[in-house]
Symmetry: C2
């Protein structure tokens, strides 16, 4: 049987001491890197002492209420009010995306931004993970193109991603002649006309100096 004492002789030396003969004060204290993120990442993997099962997209995830609640106000509210676990099905998130989001909750890191930034943005917004949301917005903005900018603008609008929305409108206005030719732009005129109006407002503000409304024409006497 293990006791705390068992471990007293197993403390590994994490930094060698450097001692140069004849030279004092030469010992280096190399403080190891903080392992908080790695340790919690391991905990997410091994599920030790898990106290909640989340069912998402037909897959089950073993997790820890305390950690989810500490990191996301949405999870906190879910667990505080003892909502039925199965409600997570309502998240409408793919299991592979949900897994990546949980990994972020435990570690503070997102490793799949290149592959699923758009889906993760929706999940981050849903669970109020502000930092992950900005990370997704940044990743998406780096891949803006004439072809995808209308779709990105709608995504940003749907998930209150204000920075990405502003970036998309800026991109549209810079490449307006090309964007206006895309089918996504043309369908956005029907589906989200208020976004077209927002783009127009930004373009107008950019082009026309703020000199007040036009003067009324003077009556000719």
């Amino acid at each position: 049987m293990f006791t705390p004492e068992t471990f007293l002789n197993h403390v590994s030396v994490v930094a060698d001491s450097v001692h140069i003969s004849g030279q004092s004060n030469a010992i280096q204290f190399r403080v190891p890197e903080c392992r908080l993120s790695d340790d919690l990442g391991m905990l997410f993997e091994n599920q030790r002492f898990s106290d909640v099962t989340l069912s998402v997209g037909g897959k089950e995830f073993q997790a820890h209420k305390a950690i989810l609640a500490a990191r996301s106000p949405v999870f906190a509210a879910m667990f505080e009010h003892e909502m039925e676990e199965r409600r997570c099905n309502r998240a409408n998130v793919e299991s592979v995306v949900f897994r990546e989001m949980l990994s972020f909750v435990y570690t503070g890191k997102a490793t799949c931004l290149d592959r699923m930034a758009d889906d993760l943005l929706a999940a981050a917004d849903k669970y109020a993970l502000d930092r992950l949301k900005v990370m997704c917005e940044e990743a998406i903005s780096l891949n803006l193109s004439v072809e995808n900018v209308a779709e990105v603008l709608i995504l940003a609008y749907l998930h209150s991603a204000e920075r990405l929305k502003a970036q998309s409108i800026d991109f549209i206005n810079t490449h307006a002649t090309y964007v206006m030719e895309t089918s996504d732009w043309k369908s956005m005129i029907q589906t989200h006309p208020h976004l077209i109006a927002e783009a127009f407002r930004a373009l107008a503000t950019q082009l026309i100096p703020p000199i007040g409304p036009p003067r009324k024409r003077l009556k000719q006497n």
Copy 2:
């Protein structure tokens, strides 16, 4: 009643977008600092979903098995083998020190090193928190003096703090004439003579060039 949807409209904007009229690509994505450490620090304070009570020095601490086990192999063994919680009494750690150690376990930070590095070193060694141990060793080494170095050497020896031990011996040898006059040094001769021998070995290695044993005297014919 809260639902996940309740929060959809409460995502705060954590970074303002910067948009300079007439200049494209000017929106900054300022990714907020990682809050993992702060979030877990809050969890330690508010004890939400706590599943273990640790009794130390007459004080009780509500904590989370999963987090303690993820961070310390000693806690992991304690909980895996369902040792009685009260055994923590055997830790022989003051409650104020235990609290600071728990805070490190949750956050990866130690804020009281200036006040309790020596006690924390003992606790870090006991619970196999390698990083905290090196942080303590470093803090103690910065305050080495002729008066305390013998005591520090014994502390380092008792808790297998090899770097601090080497640093102490180095300090002793650099200030030998003064250290030898202190009462702690004189009492160490009685209580820990092997440490005196180690200091002697280090001093001898430092002073005498490694040219092998003295030659035997040649017989005179």
